[in-house]
């Protein structure tokens, strides 16, 4: 097991290198030049050449990537071309916001999906099942930003400004500067709507999957055996059926990470949250190479680490699965 984890951790390195390299090359093929944005409209060609030299943008792409990588292994993520701020510092300020959003949205998704799927599977073809499956169908068909808009209409506008429509209050301890206020209650108010907006779609996908695999599992012989030996329904459902039914669901949850990152970009944009999603999209649009690299690195890391976590979760759910 330990060697397996070690091998997988080593395998992360080439994947992350590949993703960051492709992003590096792709960003430099984007029409436009960050130097022009730095210098403003009134610049001479000489200034531009000088600036490009200063930022090392005149070197071949592979060399530039090598320089970026060399600095990275020494803990230097580079500095933004546009603002001059160190990328690592910006990323670390924004990371907790997005992490909180994603973790809470997953919690929302599971809190909806697990009961809905169990009811749907145990009471198949009853009105409860039809309600659960129809709601899930509606859920997979609504884009996150429209759920967000509906939530805004109901909770921020309809109910007389019950919850804030935008902005952010930091969790105590994550506040980046002296001036920002932080409170647990304020933070919860701000994160609730975005987390629901991002979680509902995931909940719908998980409900559909989990209901289907629950239906399969409750027809297996070991569930019949458990019933025959007089076990009550609760341990049958939670210990025997749910745990096994979760395996395909966990796989899909891992695959959903790619969508969650996109969802985070959209939801953070809609609710004007200072998270990594807005950081990434702003950096890409502004062609801030260093910031984009930082964003890509973190995204790639999150993506591959999540896949590893998914594979390791299998061993917990099904002890027959062993990695060597």
């Amino acid at each position: 097991m330990r060697t397996y984890i070690l091998r997988r951790l080593i395998e992360i390195v080439p994947t992350v290198l590949m993703i960051t390299f492709v992003v590096f090359v792709m960003m430099r093929s984007v029409p436009g030049d960050p130097v022009v944005s730095v210098l403003g409209d009134a610049y001479t060609e000489e200034d531009a050449i000088k600036a490009r030299e200063e930022y090392g943008l005149n070197k071949p792409i592979v060399v530039q990537y090598g320089i970026w990588l060399g600095k990275l292994v020494r803990g230097d993520w580079g500095a933004s071309i546009l603002t001059g701020r160190p990328v690592l510092q910006d990323v670390l300020i924004r990371l907790p916001v997005t992490l909180e959003l994603i973790v809470l949205s997953m919690a929302v998704a599971l809190a909806i999906a697990i009961p809905a799927a169990i009811i749907g599977a145990l009471r198949q073809n009853t009105w409860a099942d039809y309600t659960a499956t129809s709601a899930a169908m509606v859920g997979v068909s609504i884009p996150e930003f429209f759920i967000g808009v509906l939530l805004l209409l109901i909770f921020s506008i309809g109910l007389g400004g019950l919850l804030p429509s935008s902005g952010w209050v930091y969790l105590p301890g994550t506040c980046p500067s002296m001036v920002c206020g932080s409170s647990l209650w304020g933070n919860l108010q701000h994160v609730l709507l975005p987390a629901i907006a991002l979680g509902v779609g995931r909940a719908a996908i998980l409900t559909r999957l989990l209901r289907a695999s629950m239906l399969e599992v409750i027809r297996t012989e070991y569930v019949t055996t458990a019933r025959a030996k007089g076990l009550s329904e609760r341990p049958i459902v939670f210990k025997h059926a749910l745990k096994n039914a979760l395996i395909p669901t966990v796989t899909v949850m891992g695959l959903q990470v790619g969508f969650l990152i996109g969802g985070a970009i959209v939801v953070e944009t809609l609710f004007a949250m200072p998270g990594l999603g807005t950081f990434g999209i702003d950096a890409i649009i502004a062609r801030d190479y260093q910031q984009v690299q930082g964003f890509a690195l973190l995204t790639a890391l999150a993506f591959v680490v999540m896949n590893l976590v998914v594979d390791l979760t299998y061993t917990f759910l099904d002890p027959r699965i062993r990695y060597t």
Binding site: S141, I157, G258, V266, T269, I281
Partner: protein, 323 residues
């Protein structure tokens, strides 16, 4: 290399040795079955029969059909121009003249929602088809030839799959630089198609791997049938069911991705009407004019729902095992 004529000749070679066409036998009484009975229903016909019985599929098909009509006849159906602004009537509430009101430039929302269907459907359908036409042949080659071809193709596909899809789609759109009109639409189509190619390649490769071991493929090889003919005539039809299902459900996903890109300002640019863009533009005025962001969002929802319902019904009908 390919010689379909020869292959066809090889295929239509008269069968000799023990087998006679049953339909030509004289009808004799007293046999256990009617030799002239109708041939067994093909899998496709069976699927279509099941599809017609499925309520979800029929509802989905009706929604999709209505949307296609709306998109095709948008010019006739829309009461006003979707791009003509009227500074005298900005933010008009819904009325007889403007059933869905007007936006900040005084443009008729109903006309914009009607015309917006074009972008969504066009991008949704064509990006998936483009991904299909690139991904399927690559997947077939990878699965059929194996070895180095397989390794090379799947390495590239895994590279694309290694990206979180929105990150890739967003960067591709920044590279393509979003524009308006048909060219702008084609750029969005291309970006979404690239992201979706590996889905088909993987799907088809998996099916081909099992199909190529079947006896009928071996028989074809023994008869000297050329590879492309085997692939397209014998292998492809047998992996069509999952391809069709993935395509229908994929259209729903692509429409959401298109709307998301537009929402982030990276889709087809104004003045071309697009639901995602309209939603984004009107969210700014959500406090006073709630209905404006409601309608484009509802339009996206209904469209995606239609394709999802139809796709679900198709899956149940074509491949009951997948249920």
């Amino acid at each position: 290399m390919t010689d379909p004529a020869k292959a066809r000749a090889a295929k239509s070679r008269p069968i000799t040795g023990g087998s006679v066409n049953e339909a030509d036998l004289p009808v004799t009484t007293g046999v256990a079955w009617d030799a002239r009975a109708k041939p067994a229903e093909s899998p496709l016909a069976q699927g279509l029969r099941r599809l017609r019985k499925s309520t979800t599929a029929v509802v989905g098909a009706v929604i999709v059909a209505v949307l296609v009509v709306v998109a095709l006849f948008a010019d006739v159906l829309a009461p006003l121009s979707p791009i003509a602004s009227n500074q005298a009537r900005t933010f008009a509430s819904p009325s007889w003249e403007h059933p869905l009101g007007t936006d900040q430039l005084g443009r008729d929302m109903l006309s914009r929602v009607i015309h917006g269907s074009r972008i969504s459907l066009l991008v949704g359908v064509s990006s998936v088809l483009l991904a299909l036409f690139v991904g399927v042949p690559f997947g077939m080659m990878a699965g059929f030839y194996g070895g180095r071809v397989d390794a090379l193709i799947m390495r590239v596909m895994d590279l694309i799959l290694a990206f979180p899809i929105y990150l890739l789609a967003i960067i591709l759109m920044v590279i393509f630089t979003p524009t308006a009109g048909l060219i702008g639409t084609m750029k969005v189509t291309g970006a979404i198609a690239i992201v979706r190619i590996p889905i088909y390649a993987r799907l088809v490769r998996g099916s081909v791997l099992s199909i190529k071991e079947k006896e009928y493929v071996e028989a074809c090889r023994a008869l000297g049938v050329r590879d492309p003919w085997i692939l397209f005539r014998h292998v492809l039809p047998n992996c069509l069911a999952p391809i069709i299902v993935t395509t229908t459900l994929g259209i729903a996903t692509s429409i959401i991705v298109e709307a998301t890109l537009s929402f982030l300002g990276l889709g087809t640019q104004p003045p071309t009407p697009s639901w995602g863009w309209d939603l984004k533009a009107n969210v700014a005025f959500i406090q006073a004019n709630a209905w404006l962001s409601l309608f484009p969002g509802l339009a996206i929802f209904v469209t995606v729902l239609g394709f999802n319902l139809f796709g679900d019904g198709l899956r149940d009908a074509l491949d009951p095992r997948l249920k």
